[in-house]
């Protein structure tokens, strides 16, 4: 059993309206020293896979095919063995 934590972020240079809005809101709340905010997605997958190699290969594939939009997003992930 594995747990994959996947971080999907907008590619650099791509406009992040959410990040901009959050930065603005934080500034109004008095956190003006927040210089930059980027908002992305965080996915946690639980995989009933026997081995790490296979899990890693498939998670990468899932990211490429579905979880991240390669046109505007980048992703990274971490894999961790967990108890059933």
């Amino acid at each position: 059993m594995f747990q994959a934590r996947i971080y999907v972020t907008l590619k650099t240079g791509i406009l992040d309206p959410q990040g901009k809005a959050v930065k603005g809101a934080l500034a109004t709340l008095g956190y003006g020293k927040v210089e930059d905010v980027r908002v992305g997605k965080y996915l946690v997958l639980t995989l009933d896979y026997p081995d790490r190699f296979l899990a890693e290969k498939d998670v990468k594939e899932m990211c490429d095919r579905l979880l991240a939009n390669p046109v505007i997003e980048d992703y990274t992930f971490e894999l961790q063995e967990v108890a059933k």
Binding site: A21, V22, G24, A25, L29, V39
Partner: protein, 240 residues
């Protein structure tokens, strides 16, 4: 009776609410910019639908910090009437003026169509012109109307008759297939303990004139006027 319609950056049903109060009810109404600090002179404040701050982080999450929101809380605490429609409801939740939170619609899609609602409590400032259990029609237009509250809160809302509207079938059946967004217990609208703050996802201002198809929403605004009239009478009597 004087109404105020709050304008946040990104509000987009502000003009529609204004139109209903002004043109359909013929009552005084003003826009209130989100940066204002006070609400003196108003009897009912409407938080309209829209996408305040783009709804970019969570619906209503940023708007609730608008300077005016402190005044709205104080106004509500004094017994002033606060009506949150759609995004207005979401802002009231984020501001803690109403309990619970919104999740994305279970379809993950924005939904815009008519729904049927059962009036669960017709004894509020906002619903006294409806019959208890009456089935009415109203349009919805939202992507995040999937209401959630923890079990204790839900029990309390039920116990105190604070669930005001539920999604139902045309026959008044509160059935899963009548639920457009996955809302717990088909909840479409709730009020606070004192009954003077109402939040609902459907849009009464979009169905207050026959020319728009039907006018089931008008009774909600008429309820407010009626309630306020009674309140005035009581005050006059009390003052002797």
């Amino acid at each position: 009776m004087k109404f105020g319609v709050v304008v946040f950056p990104g509000s987009n049903c502000d003009m529609d609410c204004y139109h209903v109060i002004d043109q359909v009810l013929g009552h005084p109404v003003e826009y209130i910019w989100h940066r204002e600090q006070g609400l003196a002179g108003y009897d009912c404040v409407i938080l309209p639908g829209g996408f305040s701050y783009g709804d970019y982080l969570r619906t209503g999450a940023i708007a609730r910090f608008a300077p005016l929101m402190d005044a709205v809380s104080a106004f509500a605490a004094r017994g002033g009437l606060v009506l949150g429609i759609c995004n207005g409801f979401q802002i009231l939740l984020e501001a803690g003026l109403l309990p619970g939170a919104m999740r994305r619609n279970d379809s993950l899609q924005f939904r815009c169509h008519d729904v049927y609602l059962r009036v669960e409590n017709a004894n509020t400032p906002f619903t006294n012109r409806y019959r208890p259990g009456q089935v009415i029609r109203m349009p919805i237009a939202h992507g995040e109307g999937n209401y959630y509250a923890d079990p204790e809160t839900l029990a309390e809302l039920n116990r105190e008759h604070r669930i005001i509207f539920r999604y139902c079938t045309g026959d008044g059946d509160v059935a899963p297939e009548a639920n457009p967004n996955g809302s717990l217990e088909n909840i479409a609208g709730i009020c606070n303990k004192d009954g003077n703050v109402l939040g609902l996802m459907p849009h009464p201002e979009r169905c207050s004139e026959e020319i728009l198809g039907y006018d089931d929403g008008k009774a909600l605004f008429m309820s407010v006027l009626h309630w306020w009239g009674l309140k005035r009478e009581r005050e006059v009597v009390a003052r002797g």
